[in-house]
Amino acid sequence: MKHTLAILVMNNPGVMARIAGLYSRRGYNISSIAVGETEDPRISRITLVVEAEDETELEQIAKQLYKLIDVIKLSDITKDKAVERELALIKVHCHPANRSEILQIVDIFRAKIVDVSQEGVIIEVTGDTDKIQAILDLLRPFGLREIARTGKVALVRSAAGR
């Protein structure tokens, strides 16, 4: 099963290598990883999507991560109410005959065309993983030329009244 882990780390050199190394060394599966500075430049937030066979494996993954000196805080937010977003840039073949169809899809997904050229367009879309998957599926028949995806980022919603 896939789990989303939110991790706060000290923004020290090598911290990503430590995390990646842990994964390869212990044979864990990372589906996606997204990193960025927080409001405090010394601290980064990592959103990690991992594949774990069962609770025991997930627990080991979490504990081994937490053991890294640079990891300040870690939580499994899979079951929390969280806002989850991914961004994808999609380059699609496009010619006058299908342009309007593509524009329609872009519209429905509230995506954006960010570049237009002779051969095609680049579409920017954000949303949860399912939404990205859905637009990719719809665009595929037109011919996907290149895709860049960020991996998921997530924040837990504040509890009501807090």
Binding site: R18, D40, R42, I69, V71
Partner: protein, 641 residues
Amino acid sequence: MGASRRWLPVEGRSGAAGLEKRWCAYAREKPQKFEYTWPDLAVTGKCLTLAKCAGCEAAQKQGGIAESPPLAGRIFISMLLEEKAMKITGAQAVVESLRREGVDIIFGYPGGAVIPIYDAMYQAEFRHILTRHEQAAAHAAHGYARSTGKTGVCIATSGPGATNLVTGLATAYMDSVPVVAITGQVATGLLGRDSFQEADITGITMPVTKHNYLVKRVTDLPAIIKEAFYIAGTGRPGPVLIDIPKDVTTSLLDYYYPDQVILPGYKPVYEGNARQIKAAAALIQEAKKPVIYAGGGVIISGAEKELLLLAEKLQAPVTTTLMALDAFPGDHPLSLRMLGMHGTAYANFAVTEADLIIAVGARFDDRVTGRVETFAPQAKIVQIDIDPAEIGKNVAVDLPIVGDLKRVLSELVPLLAPQEHEAWLEQIAEWKRRYPLTYEEQEQGISPQMVVETLSELTRGEAIICTEVGQNQMWAAQFYCFKKPRSFITSGGLGTMGFGFPAAVGVQIANPDRPVVDIAGDGSLQMNIQELATVAAYRLPVKILLLNNGYLGMVRQWQEIFCEKRYAATILQNPDFCKLAEAYGVKALAVEKPEEVRTKLEEALAYTGPVLIDCRVNPEENVMPMVPPNAAIYDMLGVEK
């Protein structure tokens, strides 16, 4: 450290410089003692208001300071300067910081990148032991640490010097030993350009250190050293490496050594959860056939007394791992000695029949559990360990307690009522009678087991024993009867051949008045035999008891059992070890007949300098019992059921 301190501006900062200035200005006006802690992120939920101190709060009230502290934790500390800060070089800062950490000796090997540090050590008359290989320096620091409980320190130059340390670091990592390794590095401007003797040692050692650092600014140095020692020695101990570029060691800094570390991501848990401890007491109270499974954590925590109390109060038998043979007296009636692959039959039977296993500082290694599904099949398991990641890692645990063993046990034991387990102990006594740990006395030739037994007798179990790896190590484990903690120094987790002799160097330095013996194999000894020069040079009275069987014996044993005696690459053509020792200026004794064993050992032990005892033992002796790989531990070769 009562001197008042103040904030001083630090060079080379972008970003929040404005804030920093204001803050510094404020602090300079009102010098006072500052307390700083980082509010727990988990508690505040948002990031970090500046260090909690009177100055800060006042400044905040005046609107002088914003939410976010201007500088990273460690730089933050190095800003905290004493009133009379000294200007010294990075190299001098290294030496000074080691001194403040209470380091009295360092094992190492010089080279270009560490010349400034060696120069500073020389001028400060810092005690240094020149080993003849960097790996030996790491093992010596390990031996020093394990025999004392203090952190051992080693140093090597960049590139090959640093990579030579790697096996030593991995060895220390696997056995949770506090070691700080300092490596030189090419100058910061040359980093990442495949410069002469550049090796990415922080990258290389990431998986075999508890943590490591590349020091890029001299101002960071004191705080990093402080952190390194703190991390190495606290929680579950382990090696920490500090890589210092040459220009950092020659630059000047205002030296201030912090007295605290700021590590928001590192908070070892020492106190056990009171409810869990109560629940454990209840579970223990119900058991009819308890077994205490003690590991290296007992030694690390210094909990031998508490373990003894627990065992005696419960009248529960105690089996130990290889790493804890010296944590419980081998001749105690409740001792089952070692369990696992080469453990005693009675320990392995007891664990199999037990209805409760109390694991204290032991990590369910595969050498202990055998095929994991068959391990302690009827038992509930209580596990006490300081490392949460060890809980339930290999074996599901019914009742975990995370905390320091000594503290947890001293809370647990008083909750227990004294118990009797007559039937259970009788069953165990029966196993002990039927399946004792023995060997066949040979009419001719020397049994290696007998040699170890004789050593045990002559030293009354009070020597500090180091071992190499292989049969020699297992016979040491089986036939030396340990009486005192911190007296068995062996490479358990990594199984590093060539470990014992250099470790003995460190052990002897730390324990000048105790007999130190390396029980060695002829293969292993040759992996760090150059250390004969070290013991000769420093007149370290280390005794090498070489169980010379002409084989890579442990591997040969597997080949005998599993490969129909096809001895691929395990037959050794050996040097004349006695002549070799003598060439280094080390006394040598050859032992060729069983009746010489005692007298030659006595002679060696009485001698005030180093001795190599070349004991020609029966070449094809096997270590028994033996649990074949991936079998259940109750299915042992060498045990007739």
